[in-house]
């Protein structure tokens, strides 16, 4: 049975029973096929916002050698956010709102600003994530001696977060 599961790429049992655990508790480990599948998922483009949980998970689970790819994924999300800002701008221009000195114009500006604040916060977060991922990658390459380009961007921010410690 265990062999069949491994062949199907499913998680396989790593031990019959974890020490000190309940009788029905069992730990599993991923098969090589499962690891390959996970890696492929990690490297795929992330769904556009607002389905952001997928990107959060990829950020949380990334491996040092996946960091360049994840940086590009995050950057792609930044461009999508900018696209939404651009759409919002065009929509507002098409509406030809009255001057904000009038009540109706002022209300529309406030509503537009509320939407903009959302995308602005998202962009700020994405930029921060990208910057720290690039910093982590640079540090990883320095530590492993795998730096390939002498002119590669160096980001000074030291990866001191829990995530950095995990991938380091």
């Amino acid at each position: 049975m265990r062999r069949q599961q491994a062949g199907a790429g499913r998680p396989r049992s790593a031990s019959r029973r974890a020490p000190g655990s309940r009788a029905d508790s069992r730990s599993f480990e991923a098969t090589p096929a499962g690891v390959r599948h996970f890696e492929e998922w990690l490297l795929r483009s992330s769904t556009a916002p607002p389905l952001r949980d997928e990107l959060h998970m990829k950020v949380a689970l990334c491996q040092p050698h996946n960091l360049p790819r994840l940086v590009e994924l995050v950057y792609g999300q930044e461009l999508i956010c900018l696209g939404r800002v651009q759409e919002l701008k065009h929509t507002f221009e098409r509406m030809r709102p009255p001057a904000p000195t009038r009540w109706s114009g002022l209300v529309l500006v406030h509503i537009r600003d509320a939407e903009l604040s959302f995308w602005e916060a998202r962009l700020t977060w994405l930029q921060g994530v990208r910057e720290s991922l690039e910093g982590m990658h640079a540090e990883y390459e320095r530590a492993t001696g795998t730096a390939r380009l002498p002119a590669q961007r160096r980001v000074p921010a030291a990866p001191s977060s829990a995530l950095a410690r995990r991938v380091g």
Partner: protein, 269 residues
């Protein structure tokens, strides 16, 4: 028979007459600062075109390098890599004298800070014009600039008596008084409420439109960029716009073993 027109002082300068295309171009510009032993790379391979008659906004958080872009545009900073062109001329090739002329005749800078001394606003706006235009002409131009921003009534007021919205408009009058071709604006809407912010950004847009000025402004909040013709985001050293193609291929195009290019490097997935 028409007499041949004598080229103006501006046309006889190092930049010649106006050219078609971008007035200001940053080409693959990189810039770093040192904080102690640490190199802080604020701009990485930044390319940007600013055209006459258009407002270009660069949005970014504090410390993202927005003001550095403005300083590079005026050659108050020099890039570590890449080039900055003004009307087709590489700014690195200018002599000090030519650079001074560029700043006097072509570039207006809108600052948040006001006069250090207790000047009347009309004197403050006229001050940089006195040497080049003489007293009468300088004051005529200053009055016109104040009228354009709608603050003629405050010509005899002092900086200390103005509210933030009025100060922002005085800064713009100061910047446009010399009739520049490029207006650099650093955070024009700081401390302004919604109505004042909309007034200032709409004014910048109409100035660009009516007087064919190229406006490059750095803004820390997105609403201030909404009247711009082009919006860029600056963060982590990269300058991005919505029109840029996404760097990541769609999921269905990704095949195992396919070679993709990541910022100049080849990686086999």
């Amino acid at each position: 028979m028409l007499a041949k027109r004598r080229p103006s002082v501006r046309e006889r300068g190092p930049f010649g007459g106006m050219r078609v295309g971008a007035l200001l171009s940053l080409k693959s510009v990189g810039k770093s600062y040192w904080r102690g032993d640490t190199e802080v790379r604020v701009l990485h391979d930044v390319t940007l075109d600013v055209r006459a008659g258009e407002v270009t906004a660069v949005w970014g958080t504090r410390g993202s390098g927005k003001s550095t872009v403005l300083k590079l545009a005026a050659r108050l900073e020099t890039p570590d890599s890449g080039s900055v062109f003004f009307n087709g001329v590489d700014l690195a090739s200018l002599s000090e004298r030519q650079h001074a002329r560029l700043m006097l005749e072509w570039i207006g800078w809108v600052r948040r800070a006001g006069p250090q001394s207790d000047l009347r606003m009309l004197d403050y706006v006229a001050l940089p014009l006195l040497a080049a235009h003489g007293r009468r002409d300088a004051y005529t131009r200053a009055e016109a600039a104040l009228e354009r921003v709608g603050l003629s009534a405050l010509a005899r007021q002092r900086w200390g008596s103005l509210c933030d919205g009025e100060r922002a408009l005085i800064g713009i009058a100061h910047g446009i008084a010399r009739a520049p071709r490029l207006l650099l604006v650093d955070d024009p809407t700081a401390n302004l409420d919604v109505v004042e912010r909309e007034r200032v950004t709409e004014l910048l847009h109409s100035l660009a439109d009516e007087q064919a000025i190229a406006v490059l402004m750095a803004v820390p909040d997105m609403p201030a960029a909404m009247h711009a013709d082009h919006i860029f985001s600056l963060g982590g050293g990269r300058l991005s716009s919505a029109s840029m193609p996404p760097p990541v291929p769609p999921a269905d195009e990704l095949e195992h073993g396919k070679v993709i290019h990541l910022r100049g490097r080849q990686q086999v997935l």
